[in-house]
């Protein structure tokens, strides 16, 4: 009797144990691994679990090592670390400030654009929020920007990149969606498949809407309350020469545009575009003597640490979901989600709300790696479009970065912002941006074709 009850709720017990153990502060990845192994051993002692399944572990790790989609992750991290450690992005921002800073709101808009330009390199444990925050916040405050407005802009500029294709978050999300879709049969009996390009194309339009909404917000503030984002007086603006505009703005823009176009049109694999970018930037910064051998050594070591953190989390998550699914946790999740009124839409809403709630505890990447494998098979089975689900999920975890009190962007801002920027300023500053996030999500919710139209148009038929 008790054993039966235990068996039925084993999955939930496993999740609850995980949450409790996570709060001790032991590394998340290792806690995932240990909880899974502990429950597998307990389950096999009680006869719920065939310990044989654990031999799949080494094969799962091998699969991770041999997955060629994931090759791009360290390469993008490399690009991001170099941008963080050289003055290229400072120069980019200064050039834009020189061009647009003369108008009210110009610097704020430049910051958002910078976030878009640095996008492909972002998404790992908030590294961009860091780069962009360190660059843009001081210059906006020095220009006399309202503290709340400036904090909000930093948060959205720093986090938008996490979901602009081909970001690291989208790469990993696609991998997880592909796995989730693999063993699901859609209503009607057809199999589901989804790949990175489809999800990238699907994200394009919603991200554009999000970006336009941010820009409209910055412009609106500039028009209605110009004192919140004043123009920089001309003697304080950096002087621009034609050559400088070309070298530090037009060239990088062109390069990024070209790379994105070649990825989306299928001319280059994502990883090739990333590697070309990495080689170009390495040679260029070495040529400018900004990147010495010593700094290159520091860079590769930092890349190794950051990539390893990402892959350790994947190892932990794959262990956890393996055991969870074999324990029948999947069936429990499916049963729970099926009881939600509203069918697919209700269940999706619950999953997104839950993911947003998890932002109080976990990072975007961790949420992705735990929530997607556990819930997406069910949502796909209810007939959800994989591209639509992936894009909604991506925007949700991006919003999670900005959720007070412990979203990464918020924490980061609080740690670097000068004392005059209070916590309350930051909270009030992100509030309008969170409203934008919710609006865009609602729009996507009501009109799924915003996400699904483009991949369908390119790939034809069922996306």
């Amino acid at each position: 009797m008790i054993l039966e009850l235990l068996h039925q709720h084993f999955g939930l017990l496993m999740l609850a144990t995980l949450v409790v153990l996570l709060t001790t502060g032991f590394p998340v990845a290792f806690t995932l691994m240990g909880t899974a192994v502990g429950f597998a051993l307990l389950g096999s002692a009680l006869g719920f679990f065939d310990a044989h399944w654990l031999t799949a572990l080494a094969f799962r790790l091998l699969g991770l090592m041999n997955d060629d989609l994931l090759q791009a992750v360290p390469v993008f991290i490399y690009l991001g670390v170099i941008l963080q450690r050289t003055t290229l992005s400072t120069e980019l921002l200064e050039t834009m400030a020189g061009l647009f800073g003369g108008r009210a709101g110009g610097l704020g808009i430049s910051s958002i654009v910078l976030g878009v330009l640095l996008a492909p390199t972002t998404g790992v444990v908030g590294a961009t929020v860091l780069t962009i925050g360190l660059l843009t916040l001081p210059s906006m405050l020095a220009a006399g920007y309202d503290r709340r407005f400036a904090s909000g802009i930093v948060c959205c500029a720093g986090t938008l990149g996490t979901i602009i294709p081909p970001s690291i978050i989208l790469i990993i999300l696609s991998g997880q969606m592909r796995l989730a879709a693999r063993d699901v049969v859609a209503p009607g009996g057809s199999s589901i498949s989804v790949n990175f390009l489809q999800i990238s194309l699907g994200a394009l339009l919603p991200v554009a809407i999000l970006l336009c909404a941010y820009l409209a917000y910055a412009l609106g503030v500039a028009l209605l309350a110009p004192q919140a984002s004043p123009a920089i007086p001309s003697q304080q603006r950096p002087r621009l020469t034609f050559r400088r505009v070309v070298v530090s703005l037009v060239l990088p823009l062109g390069l990024i545009g070209l790379m994105l176009a070649s990825i989306l049109s299928g001319k280059l694999y994502t990883v090739e575009a990333a590697a070309i970018g990495a080689i170009v930037i390495t040679i260029y910064t070495m040529f400018r003597r900004e990147l010495t051998w010593k700094r290159l050594g520091e860079t590769v070591r930092e890349v190794m640490r950051l990539s390893a953190v990402v892959f350790t989390l994947m190892m932990g998550a794959t262990t956890f979901t393996l055991v969870f699914r074999i324990m029948g946790g999947d069936a429990t999740v499916t049963k729970l989600l099926a009881q939600i009124p509203g069918g697919l839409y209700g269940a999706t809403l619950l999953v997104l709300a839950l993911s947003l709630g998890l932002c109080l505890l976990l990072d975007a990447l961790e949420i992705l790696l735990v929530v997607v494998p556990l819930t997406m098979p069910t949502l796909l089975g209810l007939g959800g479009d994989p591209v639509w689900l992936a894009v909604m999920f991506a925007i949700t975890i991006q919003s999670g970065f900005m959720v007070p009190p412990s979203g990464f962007a918020i924490c980061f801002l609080r740690s670097v912002a000068p004392a005059e920027v209070t916590t309350q300023d930051i909270y009030l500053g992100v509030a309008p941006l969170l409203a934008i996030q919710v609006m865009v999500l609602t729009l996507l919710w009501t009109f799924p074709s915003i996400a699904t139209w483009l991949p369908k148009a390119v790939y034809g038929g069922h996306a």
Partner: protein, 195 residues
């Protein structure tokens, strides 16, 4: 409290001959030595990041203009990529970069942190690591014996990729030993915490 602790410190420091303290010294040195090894391995292997970037960079011109070698470049890129993150796990841990939920951890004292790390390593990480190693050994031995090639392309060196599982297990065991030793030292004598 602080006063008391400081007093104890001044009392114990000159008595280096005290056996308990000598044991802690030895453990401390052991942890340092192991971490130095993990660090050395990490520093060398980190350069594979550049190798990976370069190989993935040449893959496109090879495919477009040479017409061969692109698969070999990609497979070797995959190998460097896997080596970077498999060795990197212990290296990142050595620098305490593995992400934690720091809701409570942030405000814990050095001794409580050491207890978390000690118990976590012994009861959460090591059982998993043992399982993976147990699974991996026969697979790796078999693969090395037949000098296995990449299944899809036939490039040589797949057995090296598989062997990384054991390199991973080895570096992780080393770092786990360092964490255990360091945690014991700090639990017995929180003043030795480096944080």
């Amino acid at each position: 409290m602080k006063e008391l602790e400081r007093n104890r410190e001044t009392v114990t420091a000159p008595q280096a001959m005290d056996p308990g303290s000598m044991l802690l010294d030895a453990l401390d040195r052991l942890a340092n030595a192991i971490e130095a090894v993990v660090d050395r391995i990490g520093r060398v292997m980190a350069w594979l990041v550049l190798v990976e970037v370069f190989l993935l960079f040449v893959q496109n011109p090879l495919r477009e203009y040479v017409g061969r070698g692109q698969f070999f470049a990609n497979d070797m890129g995959q190998l460097s990529h896997a080596a970077v993150f498999m060795i990197g796990v212990a290296y990142a841990w050595r620098w305490d970069r593995q992400v934690r939920v720091d809701l409570f951890y942030r405000s814990m004292g050095p001794r409580t942190k050491a207890v978390v790390n000690l118990l976590g390593t012994v009861f959460l990480l090591l059982p998993w690591l043992a399982l993976v190693t147990w699974d991996a050994v026969p697979t790796v031995i078999e693969s090395v014996q037949i000098v296995e090639r990449f299944p899809e392309t036939g490039s040589p060196g797949f057995f090296v990729l598989k062997s990384l599982l054991l390199a991973f297990a080895a570096t992780m065991s080393l770092q786990a030993a360092a964490v255990i030793a360091r945690s014991i030292v700090v639990i017995r004598d929180p003043s030795r915490s480096r944080a």
